[in-house]
Every structure is written in structure tokens, then in C-alpha cells.
């Protein structure tokens, strides 16, 4: 296979790095080459986070060039819009229907973009934009922290990874006491996205 490039973004505390670790581990278990790198800057919580993930037969750079990502998974809407620069023309954008306003910025006059604005910004690169109800799902599962794995489930419809590889990887990367809710979240995300024609 050629290289599949995935950008995952959101804010600190959402579990983006864990989610990309799960994909990377699953890809490795399937015998693929994989590289990933995360940018977290100075923020512990609440800052922008972006993870670059590449899988294929041979992967050189862990960083994805601007305009070279096949898939963008935005776990937060503003961050999804910000990261669209990495998406290639006609790539797939999965956007979590979840918005977190920045607390304060010098340019506080700039409004948080509404869904139409987000769609318009991402629309400069692709028409394949899918909003995913990660927040709703996490609330119904009773665990906000399962939101990332629900989204991973939705994303899994696009990835050439077997359910065995996913299962082993999820088991190895997630804490045991939260494993069940996360496995449930993964399957639910996969199924609901599939029903919505995503993938």
C-alpha cells in the first residue's frame, strides 16, 4: 500500500495522543510500518494538540506535509478548522460536534466559528465533511473520556486494519478498569458512523 496520512487534532485532555497510539499499535501488529508524532506545545490541559500519523509499507518522515493528509479527525471543531491546512484536496474530514471556546485571547473579538463557518473553511479543501456526535455518545456512555475512542471507532471505517488488530491494540493501550466502556464506545462509533454512510 501507499502511505496513509492521518491528522488528529483537538485540545489537551481529550486523549488525542492515546487515540493515535492505538492506531499506530494496531498498524504495527498488522505488519505495517508506522510513524507518529505529537505536538503539544507548552500546555498541559486545554491547549491545541495535533498528532501526525502515517502508515504504509515504508514510512520516512513522521510529520505530514501541508496538503498531504488523507484524513483529518478533529476532536474539537475550532481545532479541526485550524488543521485543515494539512488536508489534501478531496481528503476526508471527520469533525466531532464538540466546541470549546478559548478562554481569552488578545484577539478576543474573533468569534468562535459556527458549524457553517467550520464547513466553509474545511470546504476549501474537501466536500467530504462528516460531523460526528462524539459528545452525545460520550454523555450517553456516562464517560466523557470515552469520546476519543468513540471517534476512533468512526475513523476505523476508513482504515485498513483488522478488528483483531484493533482489539489487541485497544487492550494494550487502555487502562483495564476503563476497557469495557471504551470497547463499547469503539464499536458504537464504528457502527453509528457506518450507518451514517461514513467510511
Amino acid at each position: 500500500m501507499g502511505t496513509l496520512n492521518i491528522i488528529m487534532t483537538g485540545i489537551g485532555g481529550q486523549g488525542i495522543i492515546l487515540a493515535s497510539d492505538v492506531i499506530a499499535e494496531a498498524a504495527m501488529l498488522q505488519g505495517l510500518d508506522v510513524k507518529k508524532t505529537d505536538s503539544i506545545g507548552m500546555a498541559q490541559r486545554g491547549g491545541s494538540v495535533i498528532s501526525h500519523l502515517r502508515l504504509g509499507n515504508i514510512v520516512n518522515s513522521p510529520l505530514i506535509a501541508e496538503g498531504d493528509a488523507d484524513i483529518l479527525l478533529g476532536m474539537e471543531k475550532l481545532e479541526a478548522a485550524r488543521a485543515v491546512i494539512f488536508l489534501k484536496e478531496g481528503g476526508v474530514a471527520l469533525v466531532n460536534n464538540y466546541a470549546v471556546s478559548p478562554s481569552y485571547s488578545k484577539d478576543g473579538i474573533k468569534k468562535y466559528p459556527d458549524d457553517n463557518a467550520v464547513s466553509k473553511i474545511i470546504g476549501f479543501r474537501t466536500e467530504k465533511i462528516h460531523f460526528v456526535e462524539g459528545l452525545k455518545a460520550a454523555r450517553s456512555l456516562g464517560n466523557m473520556r470515552a469520546m476519543n475512542i468513540y471517534l476512533l471507532g468512526a475513523l476505523s471505517n476508513y482504515l485498513p486494519l483488522t478488528s483483531d488488530a484493533w482489539l489487541i491494540s485497544l487492550k494494550s493501550r487502555l487502562p483495564e478498569k476503563h476497557l469495557n466502556v471504551n470497547l463499547k464506545a469503539f464499536k458504537q462509533g464504528q457502527k453509528e458512523a457506518n450507518c451514517a454512510g461514513i467510511g
Partner: protein, 613 residues
Amino acid sequence: MEKRKNPDQVTRLLSGNEAMALGAYHAGVKVATAYPGTPSTEILENIARFQNVYAEWSTNEKVALEVAMGASYTGARALTGMKHVGLNVAADPLMSASITGVKGGFVIVSADDPGMHSSQNEQDSRHYARLAKIPCLEPYDSQSAYNFMIKAFEISEMFDTPVLFRSTTRISHSKSVVLIYSDALNGSTQPGFIRQPEKYVMLPVFARARHPVIEKRIDKIKEYALDCSFNEVIPGNTKTGVISSSIAFQYAREVFLDASFLRLGMTYPLSENLIRKFASGVEKLIVIEELDPFLEEMIRSMGVEVTGKAFIPVTGELAPGVVARLARDHGLEVRYEKEQGELHEVELPARPPSMCPGCPHRGIFFVLARLSKRRKMLTANEKNTTNEPGVIITGDIGCYTLGAYPPLSAMDTCACMGAGIGQALGMEKAGLEDSLIAVIGDSTFMHSGMTSLADAIYNQSKITIIILDNMTTGMTGHQGHPGTGVSASGRQATQVKIEDVVRSMGVNRVEVLDAFDMENLRRAIKSAIDCEELSVLIVRGDCAPVRPRSHASRVVLAESCTRCHNCLKLACSAIHDDDGRVIINSDFCAGDNCGVCEQVCPSGAINIKGRTV
């Protein structure tokens, strides 16, 4: 690298830092030391999990290097890890470790931060290898980080030299597949120190004799570099030859698809014969390297025609797209020929880094920001008018440096670890009439605040020093330090109490304050800057992410809120402005663990959800 034959080889997904740690363990490292610093921290964190290895968080990088140097003198294999600016702190013993040489293999990891993701500069640490006349190894992925680390200990012993192991953020923090050899060496050699003053006592008389020895040593390593396993030629076309190292190699490999490559794993010293041989086989020679033209200048000084920094910047972090665009603009044949579609310029609200909700530093910075003397000073600065003496706040490195950002804007200098105390003292001695406040973290105080505090006491200073004590090394992810009483492996250790240190040094005016009690913070600050005596205020509160989560959240009572937006000036990421209406995000609010916003609200409009008013 040659692969050891073992039927039990396994593959694992590892970050560069994890791979370095495992490589060191498999090389039989016995003593490992570090001071935490992004992007190097996880090296020691991972080594600390292995059995039969002594791992410590040292008070600073100088001490870390010295501890590892002592271990090496006994024949034990030793590693010390730090970020690039930490190597500046450790530069003094580094130079001495070079001249004495080693007994057990001695590896010094410096993790550079091109792009300054989390640093105050982006120095290229490879220069230290040339300065200290020691070999420099640069891995280019996690596999080579693992392989090179094992080999680094071998060459350290082979040539009687410390080895500089240079990583970068993208090497340390990228993950890739690593083939592990499971035949780890056992680091159980019995330590022994044999007195050799002519090697270990660097009095001038002995040091003079050692200098020619290290000059000969680097010549021998140069010969070794000709066909050592660190460097590799990857044949391609004869038109373009690319010399590269570290992560830049990966970018170059994607951009110059069919070129010939010389990938250097040992970037100091270079073998002139190796470079000449490679250069003679290609029409055009290019060096692709991040930061300084370290390789390029050495190659050019051999009389070999080469280009690189003519189009690759010396500033910032490289990326494959950046290398492709600049190379193409320079007339070179590259991949990514097609221009990507233009993005319409849409202005999005920024999400600047900020202190976590519930951070114990927020309250004190708010108090400092709101001091009337300081506000008057800043207004006068803006209008360019003269003013009464104000309040200057010097600072340094830590999460609390975020206090420099608006709306707090309550830090005026940040140079390096511990610098704020010395700077405030210098401003005082220069005759500045403003009140001077130096802020410093607890881990930073242990790292490099104690010596400058002694200086301030000794030299009759009257400044105010605020030690922001969150009882951990917060920014790098909660490592222990002497003030915490917790060791690198998580065991209980002897606690060095900050207030005891400060008092015993001779400070009379010492107060320990609750970081979440705004009224008391205000009182203490005012009285400290008004008094004509050196004051040390220790502002103590748990680091937010390590506290058990509070399930309560504060809310804004819309009917009481006057929209004064005082709470927004706290720069808490749980509080935001929705068209003038203030909202507290209950998913982020630290609830019972904080309460600073409730205390700064003048109209009593903030309260815990569900609590009766």
C-alpha cells in the same frame, strides 16, 4: 547497524526517548541521572522503571552530569539526560569529563528543540561535541535511537571518551517500530575505583598532559568514522548527493526521491575520506540539516563544494513540505511538484497556552497584575510618560512563565532557569526605585535558585522573592525534586523543605501562603513590597492535574453578574465570554480544588453549582 542474532526478537512501537532508555538498559547502564526538560524527560522516566538500574532526578543538569561521571569512574556504565539548555548548565563538568575520559561507558543525551515547542532558544547542541572534542551521535528514528545507544556505550569505552547523544523534539517524541534484541547485558560488574591522579585530578600539571591525549583521541575517532556502522551510504542517482542526519534525513529522503544519500549517524568527528568519496560520486552535493550549518561548514572547510543553508533556513523546525518547497525554489528536482490548493485566509480565534483550570499559580499572578503601583506603571509605560516607582516582576522557566501572557501580563523577564532572582538583584543595585519581585518555581528553586538567594542575602538585598510551590516539576509532567521527597522510581526520599532552606540561609521574613487564598496573598504581597527587608513568600498549592478531580463546578449566576469581566482576567480556560455573558465550562472547572474566580468576583455572582447561597 549490525543486528544481533536472537530468536526472541520482538517489535515494539516506541518513542525515541523510550528507545534510548531501552537501549541504555540493554547496554547494561547502571546509573542514570537527569533533570526533567522537554523533550528529554521520558528517557529517565523510562529507565527508572527498569530493575537493577539506579535512576535519579538530580537537582540540576550540572549535578546530573557529575553524578554520572562519578559512576563512570568506577567502571559502571552511566547515562545522563537533559534538554539542550540543560547542557549549558552542565557545560563545566562536560568539558572536564572530556579531558579526564571515562572508565565505564558514559553517554550524555542532549535533546534539542528546533522550533522551540517548549524552550527559550533553539541552540544546536552539536557544537558542544566539537568544543569538548567528543563524538556526537544523532539517531534518525526510534530504531536507530535504540541501536546507537547500545553502541554509544561501546565506543565510549573503546576510545575512553564521553559520548554526546544528540536528539531533537521530533526524534524524542516520534514513535516508530523498533526491533528489540532481548539479550540485554547485565550491568552487574563490580564497581572499582583505581586512583589515577594523572587521569582524574585535573590540576594544571595533569591537565596539560591530558590535552594531547584527547587530541589524539579525536583523530582516532575520525579514522573510525570512515567505515563505522553509524554512517551509511544509500546509493541512488549520480546527479544529486544528499548528506543528512537526524530527522532532517527523513524529510530529505521523501523530497529527493532518487538521489544518493550519505546518512550520518556520527556527526562529529567527520571522516574526510568518507565525505570526499561520497562527494566524488555525485554531480551536486547538498546538506540537509536542521538548525546550524554544522555539517555543511565542516564539509566546506575540507574544500568540498557543497550547498545547503543557501536555501534551508537556520531558524525553526524543518518539515517535509518546507524542505520540498525551498529546494524546488532553489531549482532542485523534488517531490511534491503539485501546488496544494490555496486556503482562503480565515481568521480563527487563537488558543494560546494557558495555566490549567485550578492551577495554583493563577491567583498569585492575578494579585501581582492588579497591584495598583504596577497598573499605574504599565499605563504610564503605554502613554510613554514618567511615573512613580512601580512594580517589576522578574521570572524564569516553568508553567508560571505563562503569567507573562495577557491578560495577566505579570512577568517582565524570562531568560533561563533561576535567572529572575539575580536579575532583580541587578536591577536593585543599578538603582531602580521600583519594587522588585522575583518569581521562581519550587523545582527551579532547587535547580538554580538557592545560589542566587544566597547572593541576595549576602549582598543586603531588599527584593521580594516568591517561590511558587506546586510541590512537583509541573511543566514536564510531574517529576520529583528534592522538595517533594519522592524519588525518580516513586519511592519515598528525604525531603528538603524549602522554608527550612530559606530560613537557615538567613532570611528572616519568610511566609508560607495558601495559593488559593486571594485575600491573604494580597496582604502578604503588599506588606512584602512595602517593607525594607528581603522577603521570601512561599505560595503553596497542589498542581491541578495531579489533584483528584473535583466533581463540583462553579457557575455564574446570570442575575447577579454585572459583566465586569474580572473573572475573565484570570485567563482560566474553563471561563469564557459568550457575547458578553460569562460561562463556566463544568467539564473543565476545578470546582472545590480552586475557587479563585469566586473570590475575584465583586458581585458574588460565582458559586459552586447547587450550593445554597
